[in-house]
Symmetry: C2
Subunit: 204 residues, 2 copies
């Protein structure tokens, strides 16, 4: 496959959306997103992912409440010392906005009978990223949230998940209420090394 | 952004490559892959990723040897009970092939001073997936491997990584020695649920 502007344009456009219209998200589009997710690699091709498409308003509200309680109850405090004030304020606003009116929330989980727990995140988050990119490619906004998943048993209770299934990500999906510009990122050179830590890449 | 065949075609084509030509991988192409990686989301936009581009043959061989030793020394045994024989044989062959002659190996790590360790995988593996898709989009083959990263201190030693940096993924990059067809995956419907576990999605 030759250079494909499509992937780069989609990846560059991906942002964390916090506000959505009430436009519906048809099953067919969700199936395309989930199918793209399953194309991601996983340890020994174990495909340990599992998706719960949450349309029910009560269950969406329960997940939303859970994230708010965790943030107010300690996560904000634990984060405050390492995050700049503007990021903290942004997460504050995001948590307050919750799923921002998204008509669908997709919970991505991992099946611990299919894959060692130690390899579960590395086998599920590539699929999560495919899901987010597929959504962007179809004109939907998403946000990758993980906070509520640390209350594993409470998420299991909301979604009737058995004990061998670990929730890993909670993703609102909807049409963005407003377009967002490109993301801000540190330059590659500040995070890259050649052969060993501390040698610049790309070289001079 | 409207429906974009580019992303779906690239994602569908992604496979784990185990055999590469000796064609060089120019810095400019690696920078494009790493830049796409940095567009991925991370907890509170902490961007905890860190890349080591390993061109040095000695260091590549050291990482390769490490994976072989771990596989022979226990990982294969630990995996045998849950993986079908054909998958086990495939991983056997893959471990034997090592990085398959790839001229470059990219190690993706996480900076634990930038992000809680508990959020490190969810903040780095979306970037890893962007890197793999960018490579595919530019016509390169890759494979996502994690086995050697469990020998954290040994990888740190090979790459001079400080203690606050955790290696998370080791990715050979090169031109594929042969084209691979599409991947085999379980259908979405076998992994998807509506509102709660056990209710089929898509319905009926």
């Amino acid at each position: 496959m030759s250079d494909d502007g499509g992937f780069f344009a989609v990846a560059r456009s991906q942002r964390a959306h916090r506000s959505f219209t009430t436009d519906p998200v048809p099953d067919d589009d969700l199936v395309r997103m989930l199918e793209a997710a399953t194309w991601a690699p996983s340890a020994e091709n174990s495909q340990p992912w599992l998706f719960v498409v949450v349309r029910d308003a009560g269950r969406r509200a329960a997940l939303d409440d859970l994230a708010r309680r965790l943030w107010a109850g300690g996560a904000k405090h634990a984060t405050a010392h390492r995050s700049p004030a503007h990021v903290l304020a942004e997460v504050d606003r995001a948590t307050e906005a919750g799923f921002g009116g998204a008509p669908v929330v997709v919970v991505v989980a991992g099946d611990t009978t299919a894959c060692h727990r130690v390899s579960l995140a590395s086998s599920v988050f590539p699929a999560v990223q495919n899901l987010l990119l597929a959504a962007a490619s179809l004109g939907y906004g998403t946000a990758l949230t993980t906070l509520a998943t640390y209350a594993t048993d409470e998420v299991r209770s909301v979604l009737d998940l058995p004990d061998h299934v670990d929730p890993l990500a909670i993703i609102p999906v909807g049409r963005p209420a407003r377009p967002l510009g490109p993301s801000r990122r540190e330059p590659v050179a500040t995070r890259s090394h050649l052969d060993g830590y501390g040698r610049p890449f790309p070289a001079g």
